[in-house]
């Protein structure tokens, strides 16, 4: 299970190697347009689309679990829905058992829908409150006209037992069940047509810890018993570690690292993965006041992703320009300042900065203080360039300051978009590895 470059299927099961993976995703893209009108297009005032999923590729072999992890806004939920073609993608292909799901006609798609299913996060919202459990679990069978009604009812009872519920509860309504039980009903429904692939979108996030454990165990057992393949989407890294064979880390619509779970967790390559893992609070006494390096800033808008590597605006390992020899900390500080200055409201920021202090403190000190930049940079050329920029600000030549900063401190990370590269244990999209 790897990315698009090397199509080797690494299978964990002892089956004679399946010739192709169950699911192959190639350069999947989903962009959301804001519905610009004709006038907007004429005037050129169209808003840039939101690139929710921006070129994602991976394979999942039969019987395995791929975990897809990321924070909010990374596009993982959209990925799940686009895979299942519940949302029409903008580009790419999704091959299920070799056939492209995205270009199928409706009839074939309906048949394929028997083999795939999607389980959602919210156990309260994924079941129609007006239907009994029987009707809910039966629905897939009804839609595809499988067997006689009597046979379908029998199957419903079987399924409920399979997920750990009592078959006597068939005629109850969802509101009579707890969150965990509702999720079991959801799972029973997903299994009714004997699917091969199940995409799970945050299936346990809304559940309490003790119930979460029950459901995770159930999912794991079912996978073994029925030979299911999972695409498990979640934001909780601990949960994903437990259930996944392979894991893909997403950021702003792209996969930044992908590989075997063990490898990624014990030896993460991408700076974002490292930061994520570091930030997770561990339930143990050693965690008390543990020094965590929080990543600065917030996730940029998917409408306007940063150039080059989308993580470069926050990356603690940002590559400094070749010509300078700077400490990583001071470089990151200068980069943050530069980032801020290249935004639209730079002038306003500077104004308020000046207004702040009553005494005529030098702008230089104010800036260095605000962005944690040392009094003098360790590299003389860098210091010269920075001073020039600050000087321009001092005399209110904003445009010049900006262009100085822009030209003098270009990181390769903002110029080039990294490709997924093999780092030994996993694949990581970072220039540090190329």
């Amino acid at each position: 299970m790897t990315s698009s470059d090397s199509r080797q299927v690494v299978s964990q099961t002892d089956q004679p190697a399946a010739t192709e993976p169950l699911l192959q995703v190639n350069d999947l893209r989903k962009y959301y347009d804001d519905g610009d009108s004709v006038v907007d297009r004429l005037l050129g005032t169209t808003t840039p689309p939101v690139k929710a999923v921006d070129g994602v590729s991976f394979d999942i072999a039969r019987g395995e679990t791929l975990g897809v992890v990321g924070e909010s806004g990374c596009g993982k939920s959209t990925l799940g829905r686009t895979l299942m073609r519940l949302v029409e993608p903008t580009g790419g292909e999704v091959l299920f058992e070799g056939e492209d799901v995205l270009s199928m006609d409706k009839t074939r798609l309906k048949q394929i829908r028997k083999k795939t299913h999607l389980i959602f996060q919210d156990p309260f919202a994924s079941l129609n409150p007006r239907l009994t459990v029987r009707e809910i679990v039966r629905e897939p069978l009804d839609i595809h006209d499988e067997g006689t009604p009597a046979e379908r009812d029998e199957r419903v009872r079987e399924l409920l037992e399979l997920v750990g519920l009592s078959a006597d509860q068939v005629d109850r309504y969802p509101h009579e069940f707890s969150g965990g039980q509702r999720q079991r009903v959801s799972i029973a429904r997903a299994l009714s047509l004997e699917p091969e692939l199940i995409v799970l979108d945050e299936p346990v996030s809304a559940l309490d810890v003790s119930v979460q454990a029950q459901i995770l165990n159930l999912l794991s057992d079912l996978q073994d018993e029925l030979g299911l393949t999972y695409c498990f989407i979640a934001h909780d890294l601990s949960v994903v570690r437990f259930i996944s064979d392979y894991v893909a880390i997403m950021y702003l619509g792209k996969i930044v690292e992908i590989g075997e779970t063990e490898a990624v967790y014990t030896n993460p390559s991408h700076p974002y993965t490292k930061a994520l893992l570091d930030n997770i609070p561990r339930p143990s006494p050693e965690e008390y006041h543990r020094d965590v390096d929080p990543i600065s800033g917030t996730v940029p808008s998917p409408r306007d992703p940063p150039s080059g590597c989308s993580f470069h605006t926050r990356c603690p390992s940002l590559i400094p320009p070749e010509e300078y020899d700077l400490e990583q900390d001071e470089w990151r500080a200068v980069a943050d300042f530069r980032e801020r200055m290249l935004n639209d409201d730079a002038r306003q920021v500077m104004e308020t900065l000046r207004e702040e202090t009553g005494t005529p403190t030098k702008i230089d000190d104010l800036i260095r203080d605000r962005w944690d930049i040392p009094e003098t940079l360790t590299d003389d050329d860098a210091e010269a360039a920075l001073s020039r920029a600050i000087q321009s600000i001092n005399v209110d030549r904003m445009a010049r300051a900006r262009s100085t900063l822009e030209e003098a401190f270009v990181s390769p990370c903002e110029r080039t978009e990294p490709e997924l590269t093999d780092t030994g244990g996993s694949e990581s999209a970072c220039l540090l590895h190329e």
């Binding site: 999607l118 996060q121 129609n128 409150p129 007006r130 629905e139 897939p140 839609i143 959801s186």
Partner: protein, 307 residues
């Protein structure tokens, strides 16, 4: 399909509210009158007797007689049938048209939605009354004659064998009153189609018809039902107004009686007043019940506090 929680809410609200009890009493009374009119009436409502004309309320004629000697009390009772049944049938027609259009519109969105909503908007700008009158111009006052079961069974042989419903009025009210239902149904469909269980359904391979029928429609019924109750009251008022203006087709109707009796307001006030009172009481009753329904369904009534 009504959840037990809803039933419980109904019971609670009912117990708690005196106006709900009044509403129920009035509506129950009206329905009783509608069904049992032949039995409750003292005289044949169409029976004319000029000699007995314009008698004030008395023992023999509890609500007096009109200028043609017809018993007002019996006419009021029979009039209930026309008003209520017109209300129910007209609203049923509106509901069917409106809900279908609304759900399709909300569910599909895009062009379909635009088209249907334009039609709805257009419909709403034209006063219903004008359209109703236009329909009358085309169809004329068509009558729907329904044999009276009590007479047919021989229980009350002296009463009229048939009662007459104003067919054109029902039709006119039905095809002009659907817009509100469409709006509400569309709103519900817009919200509901984003629900995860609908998405789940689609993931299973369900077609649009299945999703609308099985998931959208049942879950949108509650506000539609509440609207329906209120619209019946409206329809009753509309029927009375149309009858008053001369657009009817029925032989007995509260509106008709008010129209005919208007001129006698000074001399025989009981002729127009009692049908008017009947209308008011019925409308109030329906509205109070509508309030009960709304309070019971109101999501602001929180169930338990999460602790």
């Amino acid at each position: 399909m009504i959840s037990s929680r809803l039933k419980q809410n109904f019971k609670n609200e009912f117990a708690r509210s005196p106006s709900a009890k009044v509403g129920l009493a009035l509506v129950a009374l009206t329905l009783a009158v509608v069904i049992f009119a032949p039995v409750l009436a003292t005289r044949d409502p169409t029976g004319q007797n000029i000699m007995q004309g314009q008698i004030p309320p008395s023992l023999a004629h509890p609500l007096g007689t009109d200028n043609l000697g017809r018993d007002v009390f019996s006419r009021v009772l029979y009039g209930a049938r026309v008003s209520v049944l017109v209300g129910i049938f007209a609203v049923s027609i509106s509901l069917c048209i409106g809900v279908t259009l609304g759900i399709v519109s909300g569910f599909f969105g895009g062009r379909v939605d635009d088209l249907i909503m334009r039609a709805t908007d257009t419909m709403m700008t034209i006063p219903g009354l004008i359209i109703a009158i236009a329909i009358f111009g085309i169809l004329g006052p068509q009558q729907v004659r329904i044999p009276d079961p009590f007479v047919a069974l021989g229980i009350t042989p002296e009463m009229p064998a048939e009662f007459v419903l104003p067919g054109t009025v029902i039709f006119a009210l039905g095809v002009t009153g659907w817009t509100r239902f469409a709006r509400i149904a569309r709103g519900e469909a817009l919200t509901l189609r984003e629900e995860e269980y609908v998405l789940s359904s689609r993931a299973m391979g369900a077609g649009s018809a299945h999703m609308m029928r099985k998931h959208i429609l049942p879950n949108s019924l509650t506000p539609i039902m509440v609207l329906g109750t209120i619209r019946i009251a409206n329809a009753i008022l509309s029927e009375s107004s149309l009858a008053f203006l001369g657009f009817s087709g029925a032989t007995i109707s509260w509106g008709l009686d008010i129209a005919f009796g208007r001129q006698y307001l000074a001399s025989a006030w009981w002729v127009p007043v009692f049908p008017g009172v009947a209308i008011v009481l019925t409308i109030i009753g329906i509205n109070l019940l509508g309030d009960l329904a709304r309070d019971a369904i109101d999501p602001n009534v929180s169930e338990e506090d999460r602790v």
